[in-house]
């Protein structure tokens, strides 16, 4: 008669079915978006690797490039260097960011908003600009020597220097992920541990840190992927140290006549495989247990005072802010304000001429700013939408094929920008297409969406993983449709993560260089291509002035947006 197992089971079966049915629109939207943004260019790259003459529209000689490319004796060295550099950057970023992030989450930090801002700026500094800033600061007769009388060139042009410069650029990803997830975990679970006799350190290591693993692992993976995909820094610093990585090898194949597109495609697939391996590792680690900490119970938000740790923690925040934000920004500003580079740091060499040139729209500077910011906003909106749908489908539904969706969101992670550009040209410039976005601004939008899609997906996936299933179930019990439950319960809970991911996308898209240089429609400039052209022509000051203005706007615009959202009550502080 009353069979408890049966009763217990029936409703669950129904929820699963309902959930799948309700989730179908989200899944379809995610799949359609991913196909257009990721699968099309990626497939073109894979086909190019297999069919060397694809660019001429021919499928002759399949696999003929494979042996020549993979048989290259330099390949093992390049692949090894790539993994070495990626691991060093991940380690250095974690060492810098995790302690700061944990302190920020659990303790009352004086001037906390100021530190958040100072640690946000490195996001906004394009890596190639930061690298040039470091070179101009540390090289012989650089700014450091002009001020302090010594230089640190031997440190800079080495694996150590490369790691440091790249880590200072990427550690904010980890810092913000850790401070956010640790804050969400809160001290409540650790307090339970304390009640049962654990020391504070033990409670942290055994409870708080493991529960924060999704955010930490996701951010470290993004850092690894960014590090193995980064071109500017290894090209500028590594070459002198005799340190070649896969991306510099790929770039050489693409830009050195005769051009070897199939070889570049094959090396890119290798790079993607590396990033996919770290992704699967991350997935495997996270699959070992549940990380649901947002269960609808109120969290005490009061943080602890720092006490005796106050001064050392303040010094750590100040030192990291100065190195990551202060040094590159000062170097950029000093260069932009110099009448001539050879004039050095002296009062009679100060000139606002470079800034005047930018604002008087010299060489299309203002148009470049408008183009990049419009593209940045559009990219943030599109990747945010696709990202949240994909993450929801992967984490919260049981739809078949959700693993495929998850893998598709990770593919572009390590695809070098220049290869995305080539893939998009191959895909969208086929003669039989009736309409094509190629040679319009939309192609840049597609490129940016492809390159940056992993950011919102990874951030929102981590956020969804921390939301207990019972929250959505409770809403459904009270009669909410699955759409209402998503809109009123899930979306607000992941919104902080989604919003920060979209801001990051905006910043990254508005300064993307490597793909833009190759794929920009005729006659269209972006911030990055403008700066790059100025550098190519030796107008470093003008390029730096543009960089400074762009950094300022990409920092202030998102802050303004966040303030507006807070005022309208969409985001809590």
């Amino acid at each position: 008669m009353l069979n408890p197992t049966k009763i217990g089971r029936l409703p669950r079966v129904r929820t699963d079915a309902q959930r799948s049915a309700g989730a179908a629109p989200a899944a379809w939207l995610a799949i359609a978006g991913l196909t257009l943004v990721v699968a099309v260019p990626f497939l073109a790259v894979v086909l190019q690797g297999i069919f060397p003459n694809l660019g001429q529209g021919s499928f002759s000689g399949p696999f003929s490039s494979l042996i020549a490319t993979l048989g290259d004796s330099a390949l093992i060295g390049m692949a090894g260097n790539t993994i070495l550099l990626g691991s060093c950057v991940v380690l250095a970023s974690a060492l810098v960011a995790v302690p700061l992030g944990v302190f920020r989450a659990l303790y009352k930090i004086p001037l906390a908003p100021l530190w958040d801002l100072a640690l946000l700026v490195p996001f906004m500094i394009p890596p190639y600009i930061a690298t040039l800033g470091w070179i101009m600061t540390l090289q012989p007769r650089g700014y450091l020597q002009q001020i302090a009388g010594f230089n640190l060139a031997p440190f800079l042009f080495s694996l150590f220097g490369m790691t440091l410069v790249m880590a200072f650029n990427t550690f904010p990803v980890v810092y913000f992920a850790v401070s956010r997830t640790v804050e969400a975990v809160g001290s409540r679970y650790a307090d339970v541990g304390r009640v049962f006799g654990a020391t504070p350190a033990r409670a942290f290591w055994r409870i708080t840190l493991p529960l924060s693993a999704p955010g930490l692992a996701a951010s470290l993976m993004l850092v690894f992927a960014a590090a193995i995909e980064e071109y500017g820094t290894p090209a500028a610093l590594g070459r002198r140290a005799g340190f070649q990585v896969l991306v510099t090898g790929i770039d050489l194949r693409i830009t050195d006549w005769p051009i070897d597109l199939p070889g570049a495609a094959i090396l890119s697939i290798l790079l993607v495989a590396m990033s996919l391996a770290t992704f699967l590792l991350q997935r495997w680690i996270l699959a070992q247990r549940s990380y649901q900490t947002v269960g609808g119970k109120p969290i005490a938000k009061d943080k602890r005072p720092l006490g005796k740790l106050k001064i050392p923690v303040m010094i750590a925040f100040a030192a990291v802010s100065f190195l990551a934000t202060g040094v590159p920004l000062l170097a950029i500003l000093a260069t932009a304000l110099s009448r001539t580079i050879s004039g050095g740091l002296s009062f009679d060499n100060i000139s606002f001429n470079n800034f005047i040139l930018v604002f008087s729209n010299s060489a299309g500077a203002v148009n470049a700013l408008i183009n990049s910011f419009s593209l940045g906003i559009a990219t943030a909106l599109i990747t945010g939408l696709i990202g949240v749908m994909a993450a929801y489908t992967v984490v919260k539904t049981k739809i078949r094929g959700r693993m495929t969706i998850d893998i598709m969101t990770i593919l572009p992670n390590a695809l070098p920008g220049i290869v995305v550009a080539v893939g998009l040209i191959l895909a969208w410039n086929m003669p039989w297409l009736p309409v094509t976005p190629y040679n319009t601004a939309v192609i840049l939008l597609l490129a940016y969406c492809c390159i940056l899609l992993p950011q919102p997906v990874r951030y929102t996936t981590a956020a969804f993983q921390q939301i207990g299933d019972n929250l959505e179930a409770a809403a459904r019990v009270f009669g909410a449709s699955s759409l209402t439950a998503f809109r009123r319960i899930l979306l607000p809970l992941v919104f902080p993560s989604l919003a920060s991911a979209m801001l990051l996308v905006f910043a990254l898209a508005s300064r993307e260089l490597v793909a833009s240089v190759v794929i920009a429609p005729v006659g269209m400039q972006t911030i990055a291509t403008f700066i790059w052209r100025q550098f190519e022509q030796g107008s470093i000051g003008l390029g730096m002035a543009m960089a400074f203005i762009a950094i300022l706007i990409t920092t202030l615009l998102p802050l303004l947006l966040l303030m507006l959202l807070r005022r309208s009550g969409l985001v809590a502080d």
Binding site: L54, G55, Q56, G57, A74, G77, L132, I135, Q139, P140, R141, A153, A235, A236, R239, R240, G242, I254, T255, D256, W257, I259, L261, T340, I341, S342, G343, G344, A363, S374, L375, I377, A378, L381, V422, I425, L426, N429, M430, P431, P437, N439, T440, A441, V442, L445, V518, I519, A520, V522, G523, M524, R533, F535, E536, Q537, G538, I540, L564, S568
Partner: protein, 319 residues
Amino acid sequence: MLKSLKSITFGVFAAALTAGVAHADVTVYTAGPQSLIDKLSAGFTKQTGIKVNVFQATTGKVMARIEAEAANPVVDVLVSASWDTATDFAKRGWLVNYSSPNAGKVPDFLKSEGAVAQGISALGIAWNTKSGTPKPTEWADLTSKEYKDLVNIPDPAQSGSSFELTAALAGQDNFKLFQDLKANGAIIAGANADALNPVLQGAKAAVFGAVDYITLASKAKGEAIDVIFPASGTVIAPRPAMILKWSKNQDDAKKFIDYMLSDEGQKTVASEMLMPARTDIPANRPLISDLKLLKYDTTAVYGKRKETLAEITKIYGGK
């Protein structure tokens, strides 16, 4: 808020659509400098009413784009920074044979059936006048101890003209000069701009084989830098302009070449510190007749490109 976001998104798409409409114009792909092509296309449009669409990047990136577009090419006119491009494209049968009426004063070695020089750059020693080193006059001067650790060499793998200089000089003494430079602490420092930047700030004293017009433009802006053309000889890099055979707009493309070689066009070239292709246009800089050119067989040099680059890589340590 949302409304304004919507309108911005709409703006992007509207801009995109209008950009796609412009098809009857001449599309020019060119290696830098941007300011030169901006001035040339503005002048051309003013004179003929024909709009010019420009894509500007380094020679390598321009070639990558043409290669990827090969199934459905859109470029009408290509201006490369390396004559090698013209030779290679002619061999592939990609060029339209055209002899501009304005090309009469262009010397024969600066034109072929399918290509004509827009202007010419030369390589020299870019030297920081405030570096405290003696002014170099010869390539070999940079192997002396005053320049210990102070010399940058542009990467011959990344720049066509650097490669020709390297091959020509290495052919004279079987790489001895490059071994001496290495022994004196010279380094290979990326493409042209990457090699020049440290010299401007003073981290290095000289670039061995710098592109002259970039350096001369920096000098004109007041940088403490000068270009020296060694009396023993250097190489020049004529910048070939070509009409591609797939162009659906060849008449207008020819008009663009004509304008580029007109008095006005060549004066614009000279104003960017390049040598004009026409010998009758004056320029405020040393001209080909003032330079001694190294003698070498271009075909043979490019035939051994791989070997030469491998030898340089061996001397300067893995890249």
